[in-house]
């Protein structure tokens, strides 16, 4: 029964195909080809974990970036095992201000989009800390982290946000820090482990000279 119906459908389709206008045939051929190529190239681009020949990667990158760029790595491969907050303080009138939470001090609550922006910027800085921060002779070495785009982006964000939202001047220097609160291992109840990493102060006079 199903076979008969299928054959009838198929005969009808064959009839339609023969009666089809050439313009529609061309349109179908062009759009279908584009769709197959588009989905193939964008998927290749998005699967950067696959080992593929360099020319294939180059073609997929050339086609996909910038208009069809995609990244499906949200919460993957790992979820951070800590919470982090960006803090800052500034040196004005011959004294350091208190340490301030960047978004809160500039008038944005915890659920505001600006906190999301801050966390996105901070995730880059946290990666830099994890990869490039180390101790030498028991002294912290920040050089590699401070040369990174992520650190400079964080500093830029703090300075620009303060300047646009706060009435007070940043004065001579600004210093950023990251507060970490590490999540307990599942099933192990211990008190919260926290840590703070303070970067060296950044001179605003250097910035104004640049």
């Amino acid at each position: 029964m199903i076979g008969e119906r299928y054959l009838k459908d198929l005969r009808l389709c064959l009839w339609c195909y023969k009666k089809m206008k050439p313009l529609h045939k061309i349109l179908i051929a062009v759009l279908s080809s584009w769709l197959v190529i588009h989905l193939a190239l964008t998927t290749i681009y998005a699967t950067d974990f696959l080992v593929l020949p360099r020319p294939v990667r180059a073609v997929s990158q050339g086609y996909t970036v910038p208009f069809f760029h995609q990244s499906w790595t949200m919460f993957a491969p790992e979820v951070p095992e800590y919470d982090s907050q960006m803090m800052y303080r500034y040196y004005a009138s011959n004294k350091w201000s208190d340490w301030l939470d960047v978004s809160e001090a500039n008038g944005f609550h915890k659920r505001h989009r600006m906190e999301y922006v801050e966390q996105n910027i901070l995730s880059g800085l946290s990666r830099q800390i994890a990869d490039n921060f180390y101790y030498k002779d028991e002294k912290p070495v920040f050089d590699d982290v401070m040369r990174s785009f992520d650190y400079n982006k964080s500093l830029y964000y703090v300075i620009l946000l303060h300047q646009s939202r706060s009435q007070t001047s940043l004065g001579d220097s600004v210093q950023i820090a990251v507060n970490f609160t590490f999540t307990n291992v599942p099933g192990v109840m211990t008190s919260e482990r926290t840590g703070r990493l303070e970067f060296p102060p950044y001179s605003m006079q250097t910035a104004s000279k640049q």
Binding site: L14, I28, F49, H69, Y116, K153, Y156, L160
Partner: protein
């Protein structure tokens, strides 16, 4: 055999979409998502894209396509000529009238410019919606023309396959780490202040190991199997119900409103007339 398959495919493409209502609502949802997404950052629009933007500028290669996509990154002074028209274009794109595809194209293009200039304000839902907005440009569900039907059908294929790709690749990336395989990813996510609520942390729900691990593996299985089970007729509705519940939780608990709405809008395209 090849000729038969081709004829079947071409005839199918020429017929009006069997889910024109779903396609109509889907395209409305996609463009309205851009409108509300831009409205959601209204109070900080100047901080994100204005001349005093909080984002450090960066550059891409010098290809013409990059120069177009990064136009707002390179010249923040054009912000009012991108952001405000984007709102109008997105709103107009939700309607169906002659020449609407121009507004849809402009919504997509201005969306690309806003994305790159404010990349830290968005997540991957913006990228998904840009792709879906691109596929919806020629959609016209009231067209009497065969060419229109062909465009509609191609848009439906592109959007459905794209959503399947998103789920599958997202699941694959999760498998490449240890946390999702061990079943601890949901626990760590809900323990993070950024993606959780105080009442969730205080409720003790994260201490229920079986629940955390169960949710972890359910999400992993859902993402990996979605591209297959969504095409099984009797499974489609249950799958979409589970997905809707999951995305509602991500919206309410994890504060990922844009992501949740993007995926729920994506689900509309999978509905069919009985």
């Amino acid at each position: 055999m090849i000729e038969k398959s081709l004829s079947y495919y071409t005839s199918w493409l020429q017929n009006p979409v069997d889910r024109w209502g779903a396609l109509r609502f889907f395209s409305i949802g996609v463009y309205l998502w851009f409108f509300f997404s831009a409205i959601a950052v209204w109070d900080i629009r100047e901080l994100l894209w204005g001349p005093g933007s909080i984002f450090m500028r960066f550059s891409g290669d010098s290809s013409p396509s990059t120069n177009i996509a990064y136009a707002l990154v390179y010249r923040l002074s054009i912000f009012p000529f991108v952001y405000y028209p984007h709102l109008i274009f997105a709103l107009l794109s939700a309607f169906q009238f002659k020449g609407v595809f121009i507004f849809r194209f402009l919504t997509w293009l201005s969306g690309v410019l806003l994305f790159y200039a404010g990349v830290n304000a968005f997540n991957s839902s913006y990228l998904l919606m840009l792709l879906l907005a691109f596929y919806c440009i020629p959609v016209n569900t009231s067209t009497p023309n065969i060419s229109g039907h062909i465009f509609n059908r191609i848009a439906v294929i592109a959007a459905t396959v794209q959503i399947c790709i998103v789920y599958f690749l997202s699941g694959l990336y999760k498998l490449s780490g240890e946390m999702w395989v061990n079943g601890d990813a949901i626990y760590y996510t809900l323990e993070m202040e950024r993606f959780s609520r105080e009442w969730v942390k205080n409720s003790g729900i994260t201490s229920l190991s079986f629940l955390m691990k169960g949710a972890n593996y359910l999400i992993l299985a859902y993402q990996l199997l979605f591209p297959i089970i969504i095409w099984i007729k009797k499974w489609r509705i249950p799958v979409l119900i589970v997905g809707t519940a999951f995305h509602l939780i991500t919206m309410l608990v994890m504060n990922l409103w844009d992501f949740g709405f993007a995926m729920l809008i994506g689900y509309i395209i999978f509905f069919r007339k009985k």
